[in-house]
Amino acid sequence: MSTPASLSLDHRCTPWLFAAALATTAPHALHQPVWLTLLAGAIFTYAGWLWARNERLPGRWLLIVLVVLTCAGVMLEFRTLLGRDAGVAMLVLFMALKLLELRSQRDAMVLITLGYFLLLTHYFYSQSIPTGLWLILTMTLVTAALIRLNGGPASKPVATLRYAGLLTMQALPFMLVFYVLFPRISGPLWGLPQDAHKASSGLSEQMSPGSIADLALSSAIAFRVRFDGDIPPRDKLYWRGPVMESFDGRTWRPADSANQPPVIEALSKPITYESTIEANQQRWLLALDAPSPALKEFAIKSTLTVTTPQIINQRARFALSSVTDYRYNVDETEPVLRRNLLLPANLNPRSRELAESWRQASDNPMLTVNKALALFSGEAFTYTLQAPLLGENGIDDFLFQTRRGFCEHYAAAFVVLMRAAGVPARVVGGYQGGERNPVDGFLIIRQSDAHAWAEVWLAGQGWVRVDPTAVVSPSRLEGGIASALADGEPLPALLTVRSEWVRGLRYRWEAINNAWNQQVLGYNPERQRELFSRLGVANPDWKYLTSLLAAVIGVLTLAVAAWTFYHRPRSDPAQRLWRQALKRIARRQVSAAPWETPLALQRRVEIEHPELATAFTTVVEAYLAIRYSATPGDLRQLREAIAKLP
């Protein structure tokens, strides 16, 4: 066997390795602690300086000290060496340190293998289309470094890059076939470290003044929905999240309760749809209010929130069904009703006084609800993201002084008024509305669509949704948040863009991303099964998939091999003309033997066929002139001479 390990590295190969190391580590600077990036950068610079000056590489001891120091640094920063972020930091630092140890071809091979491995770590942070493209480019660069390493000093840079590009191109069909056919296993295989999935902002399980207004500033997508039929009207699009029943004067929280199955009575046909939820580190599925009683696959809490056993820590798809007209828990249990009348004692006296006066005026809860709504619509309440800070009696402050607030202020104030007036009420968090992407027909629900509304329990009707925001700002429901807020509110630019052209562009980009998420990133064991059942193979097992994979890969390998080995011998024009001449004289019964040189043949022709001799001699002379003369003769002469052959 050859032993590349012992071979030393040629000096001009090193820049390729530097490029590979830089390309595979640099994007991590986006999310790593600054000191790590600076340290790695310093090591890169030092290694580059050593290379440029052709200096000796540092000794083993210095490297050991550096490794220990960087490990200690990572340990201090992340409190572990094993988690995802700590692991990535270690790999980046090892990559940088390896540059100080590039002595042999084996060192270079270690660096390149590490480079390929580092490519994988970028997907922890992003799997978007640009990341995918960037990584194909980076992979090609690492491969180019590998080719340069094995090609030795005779390699030419451009040819090396082109060769790497060719190899990537040829590898792509294999990737596609493997991606579709390789039997998929759903992860995780073992418990993941705590930081396995990045934290993401989204609706939380608690609600306090300002918590939803904060979300309104984010145009990030919360989830996407594809309806099997038409999209229901906008004012029916309430996506139900956590239901918050306990109130401490400032924050609303869900109550702990025995989980009794809810009693839902459907008053309309169920709507089926598929929801793709971005990672939100929560369990609720944000089903359209209310989940259909037919929905059996998921647990439905007594508060109608649909949940899944696993925390959604990565983008996931769920098939759901809902009814938009329903009656729910008409016979609600006494403890639940009592719980939804509780208010913190001694807080918000003015609100309680007002509600008490409503209760005395009428014992019809519906009238009380209407009075509260009339209060919001009549008085000068403003729907705004910039709500002033509220004091200890927050609801009083809001109702009687500031009168500026976002949906959580209205929902909270309304529920407090209802409870004080003796109507069981609670706050529901979730999303409202959504935006249809005309390109792919998906309904997009963004974080800015986060919403809070109220629910009151009325005898004979069960829990009924009341949305005070709809009264304060009807356009919130009709046109979304951007149209509900006055100009000058600090909304993200993306939401307020009025230009049709920019909007169209954004729709297209989001549709492409959605297709990427759905078709490419979302290709999982279930999707694989679906695909095969659509192709007429029900439940393909791994044996079937593996043999199919082997067959397709075999054919593909042959096809690529045929392309790789295809060779059309370049026929020499002079040779071609000479053969033509031989064919001409063959008609005159002169057959040239394969070993006969032109001159020998000419001599034979002179003796055996003197009538041909003159013409043929011209041909031979022209041919030999092309072949051997110091000033190469041109083909035209030969062609003319052949034409003169009888």
Binding site: Y116, L146, L167, Y179
Partner: protein
């Protein structure tokens, strides 16, 4: 073990008819993963496990792309040797202890550059080379010599790990090439001139003593008699000139086995004779060689020298 060795020999042995060019075909090329290739495979398994565990869709894609790279790497490593033409050359004789070079011509009639080729005889230094697209490259395979005689080129391994270093393709070449190894000369004074029947009888032309002028060089003239200084003046405008001598008898030497010290062993005696041949040739005098069972008549020039040295190299006492 013996069985295995004979199987290996049969599997990999291929004898060309010696001197004709031959082309590497798929039947002669073998391919296995290198150590680096195995490490690459292990890395891919680790990466795939990570991709499953963290449900990284693009991680799957990356691993599959790298698998694809490894698969097509096989084609490309193979192609780096495939259809390469190899023409054996003629090895120039050397003295024992020197390195014999066996020239081979590699001809690449494809439009690919074949980089990272390595030629090696087991136990001898390797030769790194490359052949450009539609190009020809001459390489010489070094072989250390220790003893006089005829050495034939052992099996040569032509191998490559280009382009990816993950796979190792090789082919065994067994061109029928040999090289004559002359005995290592021992310098010692030439024996006394022997009186032969011809000695002293021929005078006149073609002598060695007095310079008599120039004449055009004939192909048979030794390069040692070329008048380099005179030729340098004409700077290659005219055919080479040789110095002509006249007068004096040709000194004719008979280098005889019997003249070497009888006490010495036969190799030493041959070495002494070799030294004499070189010394005699250097004087320009005619000389002959007499070994038990061999007699080379008087003569001089490169052909005579080669003939004598070869006889000494192949002599079986």
């Amino acid at each position: 073990m013996h069985l295995l060795a004979s199987l290996k020999q049969r599997l990999f042995r291929w004898k060309s008819d010696g001197t004709t060019p031959f082309q590497l075909t798929q039947r002669r090329i073998f391919i296995v993963p290198t150590g680096a290739g195995l490490i690459f495979a292990v890395t891919l398994v680790a990466m795939y496990t990570g991709a499953i565990n963290y449900t990284l869709a693009l991680g799957h894609a990356l691993v599959f792309l790298l698998i694809g790279l490894g698969l097509i790497g096989m084609n490309h490593t193979f192609r780096n040797l495939f259809a390469l033409w190899i023409t054996p050359g003629r090895a120039t004789p050397v003295f024992a202890g020197e390195i014999a070079y066996f020239p081979l011509t590699l001809r690449n009639d494809r439009k690919i550059t074949r980089l990272g080729l390595e030629l090696q005889v087991e136990g001898h230094p390797a030769v790194q080379t490359h052949v450009g697209a539609e190009d020809i490259r001459a390489v010489a395979i070094p072989l250390l010599t220790s003893r006089r005689g005829r050495i034939s080129l052992p099996r040569v391994r032509l191998s490559t790990i280009y382009p990816l270093g993950l796979l190792h393709a090789w082919s065994y070449l067994q061109p029928d090439m040999s090289c004559v190894v002359y005995p290592k000369p021992i310098t010692s004074p030439l024996p006394a001139e022997q009186s032969t029947a011809l000695a002293g009888e021929r005078y006149g032309e073609g002598g060695q003593e007095d310079f008599a002028g120039f004449r055009d060089r004939q192909p048979a003239d030794s390069l040692r008699h070329v008048a380099w200084k005179a030729n340098a003046r004409d700077a290659g405008q005219r055919p080479l000139l040789v110095k002509q001598f006249s007068g004096g008898a040709e000194q004719e030497l008979q280098l005889d086995w019997a003249l070497t010290p009888e006490a010495a062993d036969s190799e030493t005696r041959l070495a002494i004779l070799t030294g004499w041949v070189l010394a005699a040739e250097a004087t320009g005098a005619g000389y002959g060689l007499r070994l038990p069972g061999h007699e080379i008549p008087l003569g001089r020039g490169d052909q005579q020298r080669a003939r004598c040295l070869e006889t000494l190299a192949l002599f079986q006492p």
